[in-house]
C-alpha cells in the first residue's frame, strides 16, 4: 500500500488532474477528453465485435464510407491483429489454407498486409509479375476478415482491385 501511495504521489497524471480540480483549464480538459475517448475505444476493441471488425476492415479497404476508414487511421494499431497475405498467380478459394505451388507466397505481416504489393517491394517487380491474385486475411479473437484482390498492370501503371470480401465470426 505504501508503494502504491508512493507511486500515486509521483504520478504525472495524478499531479495534473489534481491541479485541474483546483484550476479548470479548458484546453487541457479537451486534450485529455480526446485521448480518453481514443483510449476507451481501443479498450472496447477487446470486447466489442463491432469495434473489432471496424478496426480490422481498415487493412482491407472495405470500410464504408471512406471517412470511416480515415477516422480509423488516427487510432493507433501498430502490430495489432494477425495479418496474412497470400499472393498467387492462380485463383484460389479466398480462405485457402493448403500448400502453395509455383510462385505463390504466404506471409504473416504485422499490419497492413496489402502494403506488400506496393510499398514493401519495388513496384517494378509487381508490374513484371502482374496480373496476379492477392488474398488478405486479418484475425482477431473470434473475428476474421478475408478479402481477395486482383492486381493488374497496364504499361507501368498498377491497379489493385478488390474482388470479394467476407467477414465471419469463428466459433
Amino acid at each position: 500500500m505504501k508503494l502504491v501511495g508512493n507511486i500515486m504521489n509521483r504520478s504525472p497524471l495524478i499531479e495534473s488532474l489534481s491541479l485541474l480540480l483546483k484550476h479548470f483549464d479548458r484546453g487541457v480538459v479537451l486534450f485529455y477528453s480526446m485521448l480518453l475517448a481514443i483510449f476507451l475505444l481501443l479498450a472496447g476493441i477487446n470486447y466489442s465485435p463491432y469495434l473489432q471488425k471496424m478496426a480490422m476492415r481498415k487493412f482491407h479497404f472495405v470500410s464504408q464510407p471512406f471517412a470511416q476508414w480515415a477516422l480509423c487511421q488516427f487510432f493507433p494499431s501498430m502490430y495489432s491483429f494477425q495479418n496474412e497475405i497470400l499472393i498467387s498467380q492462380y485463383v484460389l478459394p479466398s480462405d485457402y489454407q493448403g500448400s502453395l505451388t509455383g510462385d505463390s507466397v504466404r506471409l504473416t505481416v504485422n499490419h497492413y498486409p496489402l502494403r506488400m504489393l506496393y510499398f514493401a517491394v519495388p513496384r517494378e517487380q509487381i508490374v513484371s509479375h502482374a496480373p496476379f491474385y492477392a488474398y488478405a486475411r486479418t484475425v482477431y479473437r473470434q473475428q476474421e476478415i478475408v478479402s481477395s484482390y486482383i492486381v493488374t498492370a497496364s504499361r507501368q501503371a498498377i491497379r489493385l482491385s478488390i474482388v470479394n470480401s467476407y467477414e465471419r465470426s469463428k466459433q
Binding site: E15, G27, M78, S80, Q82, V109, A157, L160
Partner: protein, 269 residues
Amino acid sequence: MNVPNNDLKVVPQHLHLAKTVIAFWLLGWFLKADFFIPYIFSEVIRYPLTIDFFPALLRSPLVLQFFYVFPLFAFLVIFKPNYFYCCLAAVTMVSSSAVLLLHQDTHNDATFLTSFWVAVWVLWFVTQMHRTDRAFLIHARSLALCVIAVIFFGSFIGKLTPEYLNGTVFADIFMRQNFGWVGQWVRAHYSEEVIRLSFYWVSKLIIFGEGFLAFAPIWPFGIVYRVGIGVMLAISLFTTWRIFSVLFCLIGLLYAFRNLPRPQDEEGS
C-alpha cells in the same frame, strides 16, 4: 490561477522544450529519407498505383510530395527559435502527418501515426507557451505521457490474443522477415525450434513492456523515462534501426521533460 501574459513573451524554458520535441520529430520524419525520397519522387511517378477506394486527391503524387517536404519549414525553429516559427512548425507537422497518414501511397507507415499525435501535442504546447504558471509544464508532461500511452495501448490491446501471448505470431514474423543485426545473429546461431520456444517468453516480455508504456502517465516520470527509452531501444534491436522513424518523436517527448523538477525539489530550493 493562470496568469495570462498579454505580450506573448515566451518563457525561454518552454521554447527550449518545444525546440527539443520538434528536433526529435524532424529526426524521425526524415530518418527514412533514403527510402521516401526515391519512393515519393520517382517510384510513385514511374509506377503509379490506383486503388479506387481512395479519393483522387489522396492518390495524387503532387499532394504526397508537397506534404512530405512541407515540414522542412519546421527547421526554422532549430536555427531561430521563436514563437512564430514554433507555430509554423506545429501547423506544418500536423497537416503533413495527417495527409500522409491518409494518402494511398504512405498510409501504412506508422511514422505518420506517431508523428501526427506528437504534432498535435506540439500544436497545443506552442499555443500555450506564453504561460508562466508552473501548472502548464505539469499538464504538458502528463499530456505527453498520455500521447505515448495511447500509442502503445493500441499495440498492447491488439496483442491480447492466444496467438500473440504464446509467441506464434512474433515467431512467424521473426522467422520470415529481415530484421536488425541482433535478429540476424540469432537466426544464424539458433535453430527455428529454439527460436520459437524462446518467443514463448520473449512475446510476454514485449507485451509486458508495451503494457507498461500503455499506462505511462501513472508511473513516476523517472521510471517511465528510463524504461520507456529502454523498451524503444530494445524494439529497434530486434527489428531495424528504421523503426526510429516511428519512435524518435516519442523519445523526444520523454527526453524534453527529463529535467523538470518535482514540486518538493522546488520547495526545498
